[in-house]
Amino acid sequence: MTGKGSATPATYSPSPTSRKGKPPAYKDGDLNWARPDGRGFQQCRPAYFRTGAVNAASGSAYVEIGNTKVIVSVFGPRESKKAMKYSDIGRLNCNVSYTSFSTPVRGQQLDHKEYSSMLHKALEGAIILESFPKTTVDVFALVLESGGSDLPIVISCASLALADAGIMMYDLVASVSVYSLGVNLVIDPISEEESYQDGSLLISYMPSRKEVTQLTVTGEWSTDKINEAMNICLDACGKLGEIMRMCLKEAASVSSEVNLGRPGGRLKGLQGA
């Protein structure tokens, strides 16, 4: 596990200055209430990213944010299935699955069928599909441990895996979710907080292009609150994007150093260990 990815987990909490002058929504709320893991309301869990986790895939990434552990492998571009219609541009096929041991109670899986299509929606806009006409890129996400904020983590991890596979992209996609808990806004919620939520907001964002690829809102939100939540999310997405870039650059500089001695060679040991 050495050498690849950021060695020290970095955090991507949004800076408090991003909320321009506006008083935070939780100010007049119950400040004594604490998050189960002792974080501040707008403090994210440390993030650890690593590319090249799966040898058989064209590209892969492993992400660990708090207890949530996700592995994404990217295959292709490869021939589309015969049943598919002809298309001038490439296709993206996404699948999100959970391991049977991902939840504390074994086999107690929630219905996550919609995650695959949401992952597809979030990534579709960021990939230059014209660069691989008629072929399909498969993205398989596996949630090893579900510790809350699974979907945003899957999306960020998948975009990193696509970049690792060398698929042409407009930008990386960083995704962060904010939950509304009473009067508070809670960023990067854990499973426990997810079950108490009044509303959720998920943003998938291309930090460099400053474009949102996906926005999902559930529950009841006031205009002020949703504004603040979006600002918090976008700020965190920008920082998360930086962490992802750092991870890619680190992996690239390691592999180019290794390849110096033997042109075209990819050191197996680096990826396997």
Partner: protein, 216 residues
Amino acid sequence: MALQEREEGLVTPGDVLGKAAEVRAGKGAYEHSGLVYASITGRSLTVSPSAESPDQRPTLEVMGLKAHGAVPEPGSIVIARVTKVMSRMASLDIMCVGFKSVSEKFTGTIRQQDVRATEIDKVDMHLSFRPGDTVRAIVLSLGDARAYYLSTAKNELGVISATSSAGQTKNELSPDLLYFSHLLVKSFILIEHHLDEHFSFESQETQLILFYYCFR
């Protein structure tokens, strides 16, 4: 053509490389709303334009450290293996695109009218290809939902290696004979019946017989 290349640092997808007014987007980069962005992870290169080109902006390219597998494109030369021969077309598995071997399976078809340039309606597919033959072909188009359309209707294209039914010998064509392969394939199996299993394409004798059949 004094192409100057200057290597710069590592970039990741979405990194801004420069303004579109000052630089052009090359391989691994794209232009959007006046800015040039990187689209893959790698090292960025600045390529100076040649003196005679009308556009004097330098081109920014990104050399990917890990590109995705090769994908056939119209116009690319592929090496493919014949899997099935039908009366009007042959199915092939593409093995190489250019010099790169493909990591995933791609299928192609050569239709009867794309086998050779002349007398295209008199082509007998079974005399031109046999399953197992290795063929050099050009990608005509992306084809249909099933396969890429390939063609061997050029001098330098055709069967480059085949197995004889008589002797189970693999007969590799020598590079200079490759040129004639488009003629060879069309009468290949015909010849095979007239030769014993020890024939070799390198021998002068065989070549003479081949020419006899080709120009007959």
